[in-house]
C-alpha cells in the first residue's frame, strides 16, 4: 500500500443539485457521432456499470474508461455489426470484468475511500434518503454475490434498462433464452437479498 493512499481522511460535501448550465463551457469538440452517442447512452452505460460495482465513484471511473476506450477505438466501430448502444455496452462489460478481476487480484475489496451516497435528488426527507440508500445497497450487495452471467443480465435489464431483444443482441443469445435466464437470475437475487439479512457483517 502506498503511503500516499494509506491513511487518507477525506471530505465530501453533499451539495444541492446543480444544473448543467453551471458547468464550465465545453472545451473542445468531439467527433459528431460520438457526441450524440455520449449524450444518448451515457446514463445507460453508467447505470449498467453502477449495478455491478460497489460504489458510485468506481462506477464513474469505469464509465469514464468505457468512453475513453470507445473514443480511442471509434474507427473500429462497424454499424453493420452492432448498434452504438450494444457496442458501448460490450466495452462496458469488458471494463467491469476488468475492474472486478483487478479487485480479485488485489485480494481485497477495499474499493473506495470516498463514498458518496447514491441519491442526492428525488428524495423528500433525510430519513427516506437513508432508507432508500440502504435498500439499494442491500440489493446491490445481494446482486454482487450472484454468478457473473446472472449479474450481467440483471444489470442489462435493471441497470441499463434494456428490453429483452436488446439484451439478446448484447449477449448474443436468443430472446427466449433471455427470458429464461432473467427468471432464474431474479430467483437467485431474491434468495440472496433475503440471505443478506443473516450474512456476516457489522450489525447492531
Amino acid at each position: 500500500m502506498s503511503p500516499e493512499t494509506g491513511r487518507k481522511a477525506t471530505l465530501q460535501v453533499a451539495t444541492p443539485q446543480r444544473t448543467l448550465g453551471q458547468h464550465p463551457p465545453r472545451e473542445g469538440a468531439l467527433p459528431e457521432d460520438f457526441e450524440a452517442w455520449y449524450h444518448e447512452h451515457r446514463s445507460v452505460v453508467y447505470r449498467f456499470v453502477r449495478f455491478r460495482v460497489a460504489t458510485r465513484e468506481v462506477a464513474e471511473d469505469v464509465t469514464s474508461e468505457v468512453f475513453m476506450k470507445a473514443l480511442r477505438s471509434l474507427h473500429r466501430y462497424d454499424a453493420g455489426r452492432a448498434s452504438p448502444r450494444t457496442w458501448l455496452l460490450r466495452i462496458a462489460r469488458n471494463a467491469v470484468t476488468d475492474h472486478l478481476r483487478s479487485l480479485k487480484r488485489k485480494g481485497s475489496l477495499h474499493v473506495s475511500l470516498d463514498r458518496v451516497p447514491d441519491l442526492v435528488s428525488d428524495v423528500p426527507s433525510q430519513d427516506e434518503r437513508v432508507l432508500r440508500e440502504e435498500r439499494i445497497q442491500t440489493i446491490l450487495n445481494g446482486a454482487s454475490t450472484l454468478r457473473k452471467p446472472d449479474q450481467e443480465i440483471l444489470s442489462l435489464r435493471y441497470g441499463a434498462g434494456l428490453g429483452n431483444q436488446e439484451i439478446a443482441d448484447a449477449l448474443g443469445i436468443s430472446g427466449n433464452a433471455v427470458a429464461v435466464r432473467l427468471h432464474r437470475a431474479l430467483k437467485r437475487l431474491k434468495d440472496a437479498v433475503y440471505d443478506s439479512n443473516t450474512a456476516p457483517g457489522p450489525t447492531r
Partner: protein, 944 residues
Amino acid sequence: MSIKHHPDPLEDLPPELAELDQELSQLVLDERPSFGPELRNELAREWTRPSAQARSGVWMRPALAASVALLAFTGLVVPPARASLVEGVQRIFETLRGEEATPEPASPSALSPERAAVPRTDPGVVVVTSGGEAVTTEEAGIDLPPFQPGTSAFPTLLDKEADRQLVRRYYPEELQRAGVRGVVKLQLWVDEDGSVDHIQMSQGSGVGALDRAALRAAPELRFKPAMRAGVPVGTWVEFDLVFEPVPSLVTLAEPGALETPMIPEVDGWEPPRDWSEAAVVPAPILMESQELLRVAMGRDRRALEDELGPLEGVLSGDPPPGIDPVRWRERATRALEAARVRDPGNPAPYLALARIRRKQGLRNDAQMLFEEGLARAASADRPVSPRLVAELAYESGRVVRENWLGWRNLGEVPAPALLPGRCAGSAGSPGEVASSETLLTWNYYCPGALHEVFGAAFQPRAEGNRLRSTMLESFVRAVEAYPAHVGANTEILLDLADREAWHELREGARRFAWASQGHPNALLLEAVALHRLGHSEEAADVFKVALEGLDPDRARGFQTLELLMDGPQAGSPDAVWRALDPILSTAVNERQVEHWARAGYALLRFGSLQADASRVWVRYGRPQEIRAFGAGPGLRLEFWDYGAGPDVTFYRPAASQNGALTVEGEDYVTDLEGVMPHWYGTRARPLFALPAQIAQFRGTREGTTEAKIHFAVPGEFRSASSGSELEVGVFLLSASGVPMETLRWTLEPRQERVDLVVPAGPGVHRLVVELFDPTTGMAAGVRTPVSSPAGGLSELLLVEPAEVDRIDVGRMGQGLRTRPSASRLVGEMAGVFLEIYEMGASETYRLRAELVSAENGAVVPLEMRPAGQSLFGEEWTRRPLRAGTAPEFMTLDLRGVGPGAFTLRVLVERGDGHVVYRELAGLDRVAPEADEDGPAPPLERVEF
C-alpha cells in the same frame, strides 16, 4: 413517488418475483449531475490531444489478430493488456506526468504510421486464419488497447545489387555448373550499425554446400539498421538467400614461401586514461597477436598485408572495406593454414582462423581451433604472454556461451497442463508440450491462468548446466592467465550478478578494478553490488567514477531521462529525480541509484541501453523469473515475469543474449509505459509504510494548516537498532516536490511514541514524515497531501475515549490522548476528535457517526456521546460555545461491531441544511473482545 414500470415486462413471473422485478425497475441509480459534463470535457481533451487522433489510423497487427481469432471462437472476453503490475502504484510518476509533466510527443514524424507501413517479418509469428481468412481485431469486434505509432523502421538492405553479387561469389562453382539451385532461410541479428552479428538457419535448402555457403555469405550482408524512436537499434530479421546458377570463374593465388620466424617482443604497456576505445580486446593482446601472426606468416607477410589488409583485420576475421570478401576469406584462410603448418607452436593463426569460423556460424570448428590454439600456447617452444592465453580461453568460453544461451532458462509446459476452456487455443495432445504461440496467447489474455500453469507445470531443462560450468571454467582460465581481461571478467561478474551473489560480486569487481586499473565495467559492477548490499551512498560515488570512464554515447542513458520518458522533458533530470527520492532522510537518492544500477547491468548484459531488453530492465528492474521456450529453429520465446499480470515477452536468437520484444510484448510495454514509466521495485533499499496518524486542522493564520502527527515507534525499529538513536524527519514539499522546510528530531533510545504538531504555510503541497535508523539504514515513511480543510470540517483524529466529566475538548487540551494505532479499532469505545469551522454564534448543528463496511458498503450507525455527556445516542443536536471554531470530542460505542475493515464517517448537518462529512478509511476492527493493543501488525513495505 410515481410508479415506473419496465418498458419490457416479463411474463409469467410468480408474484414474489414480479414484486422484485417491479422494485428493481424503479431503482434509481442516477449519476452525479456534474459527472456527465465533466466526463464530456475530459473526452474532448483526450480527443484534441494530437496523439489521440493519430491513433485512430488503422492498424493491422497480424499476431494480435491471430490471438483474437482464437479467442473469438471460444467466446472469451478479452481484457486489455493492462498491467496489474501497476495496480495501486499509478501515482508514482504523478510528479513527472502531472502539471509539469512531459508533453506528448507531437512531432510530425511521431504521427506518421511508419510502423504500420513496414511489413513486419518477426520470426515465430504465425497468422492464424479462420476458414482461410485472416481475422482482424475489428472483425472479431473486440476492443483492444490502441497502438502507439512511433518513428520505427525495420532493417532494409543497403545495396541489393552488391548483395546479389555477394551471393554469387559464395555460390560454389561446381554447383553452379551443375545447375543446383536453392533457397536458404536465415534469421539474422542486424546490429545498430547495420552489420550482421548472429546468424541462424531457420530452413536449409536441402543442399549442405548451399547452406554452408549461405552461412558464410550472410555476415557480409549490409543493412540500413532498424530504427526505434529515431535511434538505430539492433534487431532480428528473417532473410532468404536465393541461389540461382550464374557461371563464374574464381582463381586464387598460391601462398608464399616459408621463412624462419622471429620471436616478437611485446613491450611494457600502460593502460589508457580513457577506456572507451579499448573496450573488450585490450591493446596489448592485439599487439602481441599481431606480432605473432606476422612472424607466423613469414617472408610473404608484406605481400600478404598488401593483399589482405592490416593484420588486425585478419585477426578479427573481418575483411577491410572494399575488398572482395570471397577472395579475402579464401586467401586469409589459406595464409593462416600455411602459417599453422609453418609455425606449429604459434597460437596466433589459430586465434584468427577460429574467429573466422565463429563468424561463419561454425561453432564446433571454432571451438576446436581455440582449444588447439591454447594447447599450442601451453606447449610453445617460446614465451607466449598470458594475455594471449587469456584471449584464447575467453574466445573458447564465448563459443560455449553461444551454445549455453540456447539452454538458458529453457523449459517446457506439458500440453495437458493447459486445461481446455480456461483460455483460448487448443493445448495439444497428452505427451506434447504447449506451443509457444499458445503460451503467448494465454499470457496476454489469461495471465492469471498462465501463472498458475507455470507455477504447477513448468519443467526447466537442466542440459544447460554443464555448458554453463564449461563456459565459466574457460572464463576463469582467462582471468587466471590475465587478471585484467575485460571480456572474461565481465562475463564472470555478470554471472555472479545473475545469481545475486552480491558479496562475491563486490569482491570480484574490486579485484578486476584493481587489475585493470579502474576499468569502467569493473566499477559499474562494483557499484551494482554496493547498492544491492544497502550501501547506496558508496554506490553513487562509484557510479560517478565509472561514468567518467565510459564512452559518452554509452553513458548517456545514465544521466538523461531518455530511457524512462519519451519526448522533451520539462525541467532538468536532477529536478525530476529529486521529486522521486523515496527516502528523504538519507543523503542519497536511492531511486536514482537504482536507475544507475539497472542501467549498469543492462549495458553490460545486453550490450546497449537501446536494446529492447535494456528498455524493460531499466524501467522495471529484474524480473522475478525468466522462462524460455523453444519457438522454432534457433529461436527462443522468453517470458519475463513481473508478478501479477501478463509477462513481458521477447523472441531471442538461441545463441544470443539479446532478444527483441514480441509484437504483443511491444504493445504491452508501450501500454505499461504510459501508466508506469518506472518501478522502484523490491530490490532497492526498502521503505516501509509508517503507521502514523496524521490529521490536518485549520491553522491560526489564514491559509495555513496545522498537522497533528502521531505514531508509535514500530517494534522493528526498536529491536533492530539496539538502543541507538532514531531520527524523525518531517519534510514539507512544494508542488514540484522540492523540500521547502525540513524538521528533524532525534528520539531518545527508549522513546516509544511520537507526537508532533507541524504548521504548514501556504505553498506546501505535501507532508512527508519519516522514521530513519542511521545505523541500519532502515526507513519508514508516510506521505500525505496538505490542504487547508475545506467545507468547514477538519480531518478526524482517532483518540482514546473521553472521560465523562471532561469538558476541555480543545485540540491542545490535556484530555486528548491519541490512539497508539490509528488503523485499528480496538476495545469497546473509541474517541474521535474534529473541528467544525465558521460556526455562527447561534447556529445549531446535528452530529451523526457511522461505520461503512469496506467489504460490502453496508452502513452501520454508531451510538456516541460528546465529551461531558454520559448518555449515548445516535444523533446529537449541538450548539457551539462561541462563534468560530467548534471542537467536537465524541466517544463512539463500538460494542457489537464485529471484525472487519471499515471507514468511519462523521456527518454534520449544518444550520442551513447542508450535510458535510469526513471519513477515516482503512480502519481494521479486530476482535471485539480485544480491549487493548495486541501485537502490532508487521510493517508493510511500500511499493511504487
